[in-house]
């Protein structure tokens, strides 16, 4: 009897061992490369010295409110127009205008006239982008391959964005950044309303204020969150978020609108 019990124990141990062995043979999940940092410890959003790379495709093609799932194509066209009211907390006129733009296949998109995208839409332009720190001028630059190879200047010198009613609106607005831990927070205002700030044609007015939060949880991932505050267009501030993948090696591609028109 004792031998039988011993044999059973050996059999169970062998089976457990086989199970352990099979797990050990599977490829271990790839450990994420850590977030790169500057010598002063600040998060590095660009390539490390001696290497190349840029931020490529976003995980979504346009803005929609955090927590909402809507299907849309790469231009921000909804798969189902009935989803329009779920995209953002629109005022009635803004919903009607968004639906009008969607139903017309985005034919009035200002980028068709080579007017640059702006705000969050910049991060959806083809060609990728870089986020470059400039300690000399105490600024961050966001450089884009597409959208006529534009760049955004983010002032990191402690200034605050202006009251939209006190400035002449511009396409890229006035942008001021600061750090909250490892997150780069960019607040902006002073936009004009002659561009679309998203794929798909979300409306806005000159009262638009944006708060963008950039973080790099690991080497390959940019986490982006934007809060849209435009009380003339939306019934309350709302937030969208997505991630962007790092493209290791290579550089952002030059893409000019006029070239596409000629082509």
């Amino acid at each position: 009897m004792g031998h039988l019990r011993f044999a059973l124990l050996v059999l169970v141990a062998a089976l457990v061992g086989c199970a352990d062995g099979s797990d050990a043979g599977a490829p271990a999940p790839k450990a994420a490369k850590p977030t790169p940092r500057h010598p002063d410890g600040q998060v590095r959003f660009d390539a490390e010295p001696g290497s190349r790379g840029y931020w490529g495709r976003a995980s979504v093609s346009s803005l929609f409110e955090k927590g909402v799932q809507v299907a849309m194509d790469e231009k921000g066209l909804l798969a189902n127009i009935a989803d329009a009211p779920r995209v953002a907390p629109f005022q009635p006129w803004a919903l009607a205008l968004y639906e009008y733009r969607q139903r017309n296949g985005l034919k009035d998109d200002p980028t068709r006239a080579c007017i640059a995208p702006s705000g969050p839409r910049h991060l959806h332009t083809a060609g990728g982008f870089r986020i470059v720190r400039d300690p000399t001028y105490d600024r961050m630059y966001i450089l884009f391959g597409g959208g006529n190879r534009n760049w955004r200047v983010v002032f990191m010198d402690g200034r605050t964005p202006p009251n939209p009613e006190e400035v002449s609106g511009t396409y890229f607005g006035h942008q001021a950044g600061h750090w909250e831990g490892d997150t780069l927070v960019v607040e902006s205002s002073g936009y004009n309303s002659r561009f679309w700030f998203s794929n798909g044609g979300l409306p806005h007015t000159e009262a638009l204020r944006l708060t963008e939060r950039f973080s790099r949880p690991d080497f390959d991932t940019l986490k982006y969150e934007v809060t849209v505050d435009d009380p003339l267009t939306y019934t309350r501030p709302w937030t969208a978020e997505w991630t962007v993948a790092w493209v290791d090696g290579g550089e952002i591609a030059e893409q000019f609108c006029e070239d596409r028109r000629d082509g």
């Binding site: 009607a96 609106g169 004009n192 007015t205």
Partner: protein, 127 residues
């Protein structure tokens, strides 16, 4: 040029400078130019409108004889426009119009302009 005229010119240019910025966004924002009245007797008209989030605040013919109005004005379900104001001589003005070509920079407003008991066709385009 008298001081009064110079002051008026400065104020008008400041008003226009602010208005000229408002060319997109809310569909009625901006400066509209057109005419109303019967064929052969049309009157030129300028309307300036600005959305404040709840109401449209507007001016008919900005200048010394400006007529101001304020209200919801736009019905987005069918892009109809309804403006009520009072002329300088106390006559009620009622404008019923339809917004068209909304995606265009130079979208249009077409409808009837009723001043007192008389209703006349009118058409405007946004500058």
């Amino acid at each position: 040029m008298s001081l009064r005229v110079k002051c008026f010119a400065v104020v008008l240019s400041l008003v226009l400078a602010v208005v000229v910025q408002s060319q997109e966004g809310f569909p009625l924002d901006g400066t509209w130019r057109g005419e109303w009245g019967p064929d052969g007797g049309k009157s030129a008209v300028v309307i300036v409108m600005k959305w404040d989030g709840k109401n449209v605040n507007g001016m008919i013919n900005p200048g010394p004889n400006v007529v101001r109005f304020s209200g919801p004005v736009l019905e987005p379900s069918d892009w109809s426009v309804h403006i009520e104001a009072q002329s300088r001589d106390g006559q009620p003005i009622v404008i019923e119009a339809k917004l068209a070509d909304i995606g265009s920079y130079n979208r249009t407003l077409t409808g009837t302009w009723k001043q007192g008991a008389v209703g006349q066709p009118f058409k405007m385009a946004r500058e």
